[in-house]
Subunit: 341 residues, 2 copies
DNA sequence: TTGTACGCGTTATCAT
DNA sequence: ATGATAACGCGTACAA
């Protein structure tokens, strides 16, 4: 109850007053910086506790020009891949005494830009972000023009030294090869937002390249609606139009699993009638029956890595930091079977 | 390039200087507040653009005593339930022009307290949090003592008016009833961190109550390790010790799915040998075979609701805001079958 | 060792 | 309509 009536938080001035000393001494005690006698330190500590004093990072940041905050922009936190990455970033941040200011762009470049603006106003020390299209992003342009330290996550940016992600193209080539080894000749690529995710587009490129190199037919493409309610009809139409397809590469595991469930509804067996390979390597793929063949990626580690990079960049501006390849791995699964004639 | 050499961001003072006016006018333009002549406004806007001026929320917040930031503390963002909730909070926050400062406590009360301290120092306007034990939380005590607006998510706190979550007890009773209807008499409850999550404990209470009311045996309890590698042996031992068990209530869906996969490895069929009911209602439950019987909850909506509550509390301090029950729903699934004799 | 005074970037008051 | 000035809470030279 005490001073709560004043209805404004205690400042170092209040503490100094109660402790009967100058504000500089309070600052020294709070920051463990500079010399201060044990007696005074005790008095200050007591006064601070009594007032429930918590230092204000507003004043501190204004003065020090550091907010100990890093900004993060991802398309969505609902997607387990991004949430795992954010968890990694968060963990590294706290290890370094920083906090995370999080924004979700919903795969929208306009929201990306707005988010970056807000984060700049908040004066974050650095940023980590996944943008819709790294080659052409107003948000990244803004960041660069301000010289604010940032790193890309999952994207491959124009400046190669800044990215930290999976080589989608290369990974998708592996997928094509896996299909080919099982005798598949006609593939389909099913994606969620081909035009709003450069990752998805890169995966398609890789698949196409593999098909070409391996003399497979050019893959048919189905871009499905966000709203998975219509997946059934969309998929059925797609398969009717392309009856030759024996294998489907889904742009991510969630979609792959939804496709398998839908195929089951349509009376098709996986992998006897159609084989499926996903992308991401989420745990559930291992627990279903059949297990999901997929490209395993390591979003948590990627988040940690990219956060480590921005950390290093802040602490040591002279050196340049090259990205750490986290890599990927093809994981076989029961959803890919030999093609049946 | 221009003034970048000065290596510090343009301030309102810089803009004023370049526009040849006072800083007050710049402020008026930037905030669209007060009267300013069209000519001057244009000059200011031009100067601001030229300098790449972005207002500093540090100065603004210091002055206004508002940060337009809300703090969020959850156990983990990797768990899809929490990430969905955070997404909901985030969405509401941006709708109200606020940003989200995110912390993960890793189910550790000590980290909860530290996170809250940091968030207080950052002077967030309000907080939303899920704590380990709402009835006994130093973090919440601190929040209360400071009079900082906050809301609980998933927890049921001592102050009933502050929570926004699922009635775990009631939901778990439904689970018991569902088992009972199928003839199950001997149940097991498998949980991840019984002692570090009041939600998990509440679910157990509800299950126990249902068993008692329905004349079932008291449920056997298995608390499994974080590291799911050992799930197989732990589960096997548990079932050996309790051969009478025909149904298992898993404290969440992820665990339920892992248990089903493990049982499959152990050569047990679900639901013929053992029935399973989960908790949360994640989408994957619908896509597996058999589908997962579970309690469906609505974490995204809960996030939105609780964020709405803190918003309202900030805008209108006079009124008191009661929580909106989001509720839950029992969803039948193939993982629950009749008990076989 | 300790205290005083200034500036960090902003908004609001008060003259003009 | 516009500008000078005083806070806001803090860190830090500098003085004592």
């Amino acid at each position: 109850m005490e001073d709560a009536s004043r209805h404004h938080e205690a400042t170092i001035k209040d503490v100094a007053h109660l402790a009967g000393c100058g504000i500089a001494s309070v600052s020294r005690v709070v920051n463990n910086k500079g010399q201060v006698s044990p007696q005074l330190r005790a008095k200050v500590l007591k006064a601070a506790a009594e007032l429930g004093f918590e230092i204000s990072d507003l004043g501190r940041s204004l003065r020090s020009r550091k907010t100990q905050t890093i900004g993060c922009v991802v398309p969505s936190i609902s997607n387990p891949v991004y949430s795992a990455a954010v968890q990694g970033i968060q963990d590294v941040a706290v290890e370094n005494g920083q906090q995370l200011l999080l924004s979700c762009s919903n795969y929208d470049p306009e929201q990306e830009l707005k988010a970056v603006r807000n984060l700049i106003s908040k004066r974050v020390d650095a940023m980590v972000l996944t943008v819709s299209d790294a080659q052409n992003s107003a948000a990244l342009d803004l960041l660069r023009s301000r010289g604010l330290p940032y790193r890309l996550l999952f994207n491959s940016g124009p400046d190669l030294s800044l990215d930290c992600g999976v080589d989608n193209y290369e990974a998708a080539r592996h997928v094509g090869q896996a299909f080919s080894k099982m005798g598949h000749q006609h593939l389909g690529y099913v994606a969620l937002r081909l035009n709003r995710s450069d990752r998805s587009a890169q995966r398609l490129s890789g698949l196409k390249a593999a098909c070409e190199a391996l003399m497979l037919a050019e893959p048919a493409i189905l871009e499905v609606d966000e709203n998975s309610v219509f997946l059934t009809t969309q998929l059925q139409t797609f398969l009717n139009n392309h009856p030759e397809i024996t294998g489907i590469f889904a742009s991510n595991d969630q979609l792959a699993i939804a496709i398998i469930a839908t195929l089951r509804q349509l009376g098709k067996k996986v992998p006897q009638d159609i084989s499926i390979i996903g992308f991401d390597g989420i745990d559930f793929g291992l627990m279903m029956e059949p297990t999901l063949a997929t490209i395993v990626t390591y979003p948590y580690e990627m988040g940690r890595n990219v956060a480590g990079l921005v950390q290093a960049e802040q602490n040591n501006t002279t050196q340049s930091f090259s990205p750490i390849e986290v890599g990927f791995e093809y994981r076989p699964g029961g959803s890919l079977g030999p093609v049946s004639y």
